[in-house]
């Protein structure tokens, strides 16, 4: 009889995994004794992808710190701070960008954990802000003509104190690999809504936003993070 009840419960949990609120209710009524098994606390970490890329790509160096704090069963407030230096060696121009960024927002964990586990499949939203400098080193004049073909013009100019603002959608997975130690991977889709465009030039790269596109305000990114949970209380 017990076996049948247990398997029925599992089937129910699986079927109703979309309706997490309902599923949770069942969990609570059946398992009275394990209600204080969810850890709440501050999770601090760093992005592993940026330093890894810095090692292999001489045109990039960057670092990012990340922090989140669990507010409710499923909601976390989250923030990231980082700095990037990126050289753009395009076929017709050479430029570089250097600056830092700050992102703040929240994550929503859509994953129904088994009792005692702390994994996450989450979606998040961020507001991103960056301050940076751009350097234009050299460029080619596009003449499209063989009589006076385009030549490289070495004309260094610096655009300091530029800013950019964007909104970001994040989709990611977090796994607890050791007690309180988490690995995470995420994809970021960004849409910039405001930026200082340098006169007679363009922001080819924005720290935190990454490479810009001439034809749209979209940007993409990914993160591969390691973080540690400092437990504060259980609920």
């Amino acid at each position: 009889m017990n076996k049948i009840l247990t398997s029925l419960f599992f089937i129910k949990v699986l079927l109703l995994s979309c309706y997490w609120g309902f599923a949770q209710e069942i969990e609570r009524t059946i398992n009275d004794t394990i209600t204080k098994n969810n850890k709440y606390g501050l999770r601090v970490g760093a992005d592993l992808a940026r330093p890894a890329i810095s090692l292999f790509d001489e045109n990039f160096s960057g670092f990012e710190f990340m922090v989140d704090y669990r507010l409710t069963h499923r909601f976390y407030i989250a923030a990231e701070y980082g700095f990037d230096q990126d050289n753009q060696t395009e076929s017709n121009l050479i430029a570089s960008t250097k600056g830092s960024y700050f992102k703040i927002g929240g994550d929503f964990n859509a994953y129904n954990n088994w009792v005692g586990m702390n994994n996450a499949i989450y979606v998040g939203l961020r507001y991103g802000f960056s301050t940076f400098d751009q350097n234009l080193e050299e460029y080619t004049i596009y003449t499209g003509d063989s009589t006076f073909p385009g030549t490289m013009v070495i004309d260094p100019s610096t655009y300091k104190g530029l800013t950019a603002h964007w909104a970001e959608f994040i989709f990611g997975i977090k796994t607890e690999i050791l007690t309180n130690l988490f690995l995470s991977i995420n994809l970021q889709l960004k849409n910039k809504f405001s930026e200082d465009v340098p006169e007679n030039f363009y922001n080819l790269y924005i720290p935190g936003f990454n490479k810009t596109n001439d034809y749209s305000d979209f940007g993409v990114g990914f993160g591969y993070g390691i973080s540690y949970l400092i437990p504060i209380y259980k609920k």
Binding site: V123, I141, Y142, T143, T147, G150, L187, N213, F218
Partner: protein
């Protein structure tokens, strides 16, 4: 609902992953050519063809013909993007048997480099165009500057009456 959001977000990521701004396409407005129209000195409103016109410039001691013995009433010629002066030899009646009448025309201007986009980088536009004509025995009667700012190829910049 959540799944829909996630999948559409991933879809946009993959779409924008292939950007078209890495290639400088032919249609991109580039450094403009100088547009010259030829008109009659008798009736200044009337376009007039120049017979067997050869247009030549000298780059690094080498003669480059942009037009060779063509009978036309307008030309489009590039200006040097590295110098504030470009010289052109406008030769009328140049055929395989006759040299024709050569007029040397000097174009002086100021240059501004204007950012286009990531792939094409910059183009040059020219302003404050001034024209000097050196030759004595001219077939050109008068040169009129219609537009001293050369930023596109939509309008005539210079009219030559002959």
């Amino acid at each position: 609902m959540l799944k829909k959001i996630v999948f559409s977000a991933l879809f946009i990521v993959f779409i924008t992953g292939c950007t078209k701004d890495d290639i400088c396409t032919e249609e991109t407005p580039k450094t403009p050519f100088l547009i010259i129209k030829f008109k009659s000195k008798v009736n200044p409103l009337l376009p007039k063809e120049v017979s067997n016109l050869t247009v030549t410039t000298i780059v690094n001691d080498e003669n480059i013909d942009l037009y060779k013995s063509e009978t036309i009433d307008s030309i489009a010629i590039p200006l040097n993007t590295q110098s504030n002066t470009t010289n052109y030899l406008l030769i009328k009646g140049n055929t395989s048997t006759t040299d024709g009448n050569t007029d040397v025309v000097t174009f002086n201007y100021q240059r501004d480099n204007i950012y286009i986009n990531r792939a094409c980088a910059f183009k040059t536009i020219y302003r404050d165009l001034l024209i000097l004509e050196i030759e004595e025995d001219n077939w050109i009667n008068e040169i009129e500057i219609n537009n001293s700012l050369i930023e596109n190829e939509q309008n005539t910049h210079v009219t030559i009456f002959h």
